[in-house]
């Protein structure tokens, strides 16, 4: 899932500027399960902003609404009136949600309330870790299900580097050395041969380095209704 966290309150207030009517838009999918931008978080933030603005001597009307998924036009359609009524829309969606809002409603000022961090999973409640870097060409079959692009600090394909120590990465002892994990896994499975071979240089075109990406599935696209003659 996409994992994000809320920006500091001070930064959010700065982004809202002189706005007198703020609409917070939460999202019911990824940011709900990482407790950053769901319905509850939107309500809490609304209350905090109302109280804060009153304490600052400039009371602001802050309301909130949460849509099931902020990145889909159909769900955004439903909040048209609410958006029209606001000076600034504070999106608690991930970076995709913020942009979808801004694209679907080009007139209002849309600002982000979250910092979108990574694609990852909850290791336990309250702890999320990065797992996928969306490189566009998944090689997990070669590395025992552990990704060296997302989990190796240097994105090595023939690791580890000389800094791997006691299974931890040289840059931070909290980070597991991905190549230690890969080695242990393949060793246990008797499949070390997979990394005995030199993995060649990666074609980064499929990742973000190749430019912003699009996927088109012709089999899924709906036929456009025939336009009437003018």
């Amino acid at each position: 899932m996409i994992v994000a966290e809320q920006k500091p309150l001070g930064e959010i207030k700065g982004l809202l500027g002189e706005a007198r009517k703020v609409l917070i838009v939460g999202c019911g999918t990824c940011v709900t399960v990482c407790f950053a931008g769901g319905e509850r978080e939107a309500s809490v933030l609304g209350s905090l902003l109302r109280m804060s603005s009153r304490l600052d001597g400039a009371p602001t009307t802050v309301t909130d609404v949460t849509v099931q998924r902020q990145c889909e036009w159909e769900y955004l359609d439903a909040i048209r009136e609410r958006v029209a009524d606001a000076d600034v829309v504070l999106s608690l969606g991930c970076g995709v949600g913020v942009q979808a809002l801004a694209e679907h409603y080009p007139e209002p000022v849309v600002v982000p309330g979250l910092n979108t961090k990574f694609m990852g999973l909850p290791l336990e409640q309250g702890v999320w870790a990065e797992r996928c870097a969306a490189c566009g060409e998944c090689m997990l079959g070669l590395t025992g299900g552990i990704c060296p692009i997302a989990r190796c600090s240097k994105q090595l394909l023939n690791g580890p580097c000389g800094g791997s120590s006691h299974g931890k990465c040289e840059i931070n002892p909290e980070i597991d050395c991905a190549w230690q994990l890969i080695y242990d896994k393949l060793q246990a499975q008797g499949r070390l041969n997979l990394i005995m071979e030199i993995i060649p240089a990666k074609d980064w075109r499929t990742s973000r380095d190749g430019g912003p990406r699009t996927i088109v599935r012709e089999d899924l696209k709906l036929p456009k209704p025939a336009t009437a003659e003018a």
């Binding site: 600090s153 090595l156 580890p160 050395c177 070390l192 030199i198 060649p200 240089a201 980064w204």
Partner: protein
């Protein structure tokens, strides 16, 4: 430019290793500024005592004069450089472009490294390149030389770079059992020589080399064991406790401590420590000479290039054979 008669690059280091003599390399750290004179002074300290000197590449991710720039100055000063290139700062275009330029300027040896992560250095905010890893870099440089092709497969028309290609290995990094096998990968990628990280734990290194010899890797590539003189017991302890992948046995720390005991005067104590540090280094070199598969030593006297002469003399290694007139341009 003619073929370097049977040699891959014709460099001094290559010839020295091929001759079967116990080779000696050292490190020259470029300055954190644009002062060519600093490089010349350091080169002067090493000339005649080593077969070649490594010119580090933004070591510990701290910006310094480029390895190629300092390498050319070193060459002009009469000392053969081993340029270093990390994967941290350049993509494959920048790397190949630099390699063409370096060769055109007369550089002939290269050490391919992953590179310390930028969080260690003075520009932690920078973007992390790592387009290639060190194994793929070795493959690429070897490909430029042997297949005369760029990494993309395109043929190089005209003069193509023929480097003597090296890689690094940390024998004590984790996972320990995987290290000799990973070294094998570098040998298969075409690495002509290997320089290891500093070794203080000789028994453990012997164990590593035994496995390397079992795998026959010592016959595919020349292995130079890394050694370095300690300046203070504090430095020894720091390496033992704070540097990932370094193995410094307590006896070494104790030797350093003992050397300074009873000496009150600061300068005299410091001199005593340094003398012991050099003695330990010489001892290590003697032990390295006895280990099968070790073709030479790589002396890392960081910001203490003066010590190299003392160490090389003390170890009975000079004079360094002047094997070939250094090439200054193609």
């Amino acid at each position: 430019m003619s073929e370097p008669d049977g040699y891959k690059s014709g460099s001094n280091l290559e010839r020295a290793l091929r001759s079967g003599a116990f080779a000696v390399t050292a490190e020259l750290g470029p300055p954190k500024n644009a002062d060519a004179e600093v490089v010349r002074q350091k080169a002067a300290l090493l000339t005649g005592w080593v077969d070649a000197a490594n010119i580090t590449d933004n070591q510990t991710a701290i910006v310094r004069m480029s390895s190629i720039g300092a390498g050319v100055l070193t060459l002009q000063a009469g000392l053969e450089p081993v340029m270093q290139m990390t994967c941290r700062d350049r993509n494959r275009l920048g790397m190949q472009s630099d390699l063409l330029g370096a060769y055109a300027l007369g550089l002939r040896n290269i050490l391919c490294l992953t590179g310390d992560h930028q969080t260690f250095g003075n520009h932690p905010q920078s973007k992390n390149v790592h387009d290639l890893d060190s194994v793929q870099l070795v493959q690429m440089v070897v490909g430029l030389r042997d297949e005369r092709r760029f990494q993309c497969g395109e043929e190089i028309k005209g003069v193509h770079p023929q480097f003597f290609v090296g890689a690094a290995e940390n024998p004590f990094g984790d996972p320990f059992e995987w290290r000799p096998l990973r070294l094998g990968k570098k040998a298969r990628a075409g690495a002509d020589f290997i320089q290891t990280q500093m070794i203080y734990n000789v028994p453990k290194f012997r164990e590593f080399m035994r496995r390397v010899v079992d795998l026959g890797i010592h016959q595919q590539t020349y292995i130079l064991a890394g050694v370095g003189p300690l300046k203070t017991p504090g430095a020894a302890k720091y390496m033992r406790d704070q540097v990932p992948g370094m193995d410094v046995p307590d006896e070494i720390v104790e030797r350093m401590e003992a050397a300074g005991r009873g000496i009150e005067e600061k300068q005299a104590r410091s001199a005593a420590w340094r003398a012991e540090g050099i003695r330990i280094c010489i001892d290590l070199i003697h032990q390295m000479q006895e280990i099968e598969g070790v073709a030479g030593v790589h002396i890392m006297a960081i910001e203490w290039e003066e010590a190299v002469k003392t160490i090389v003399e003390g170890a009975g290694l000079p004079p360094r054979p002047r094997v070939v007139d250094l090439v200054t341009s193609t």
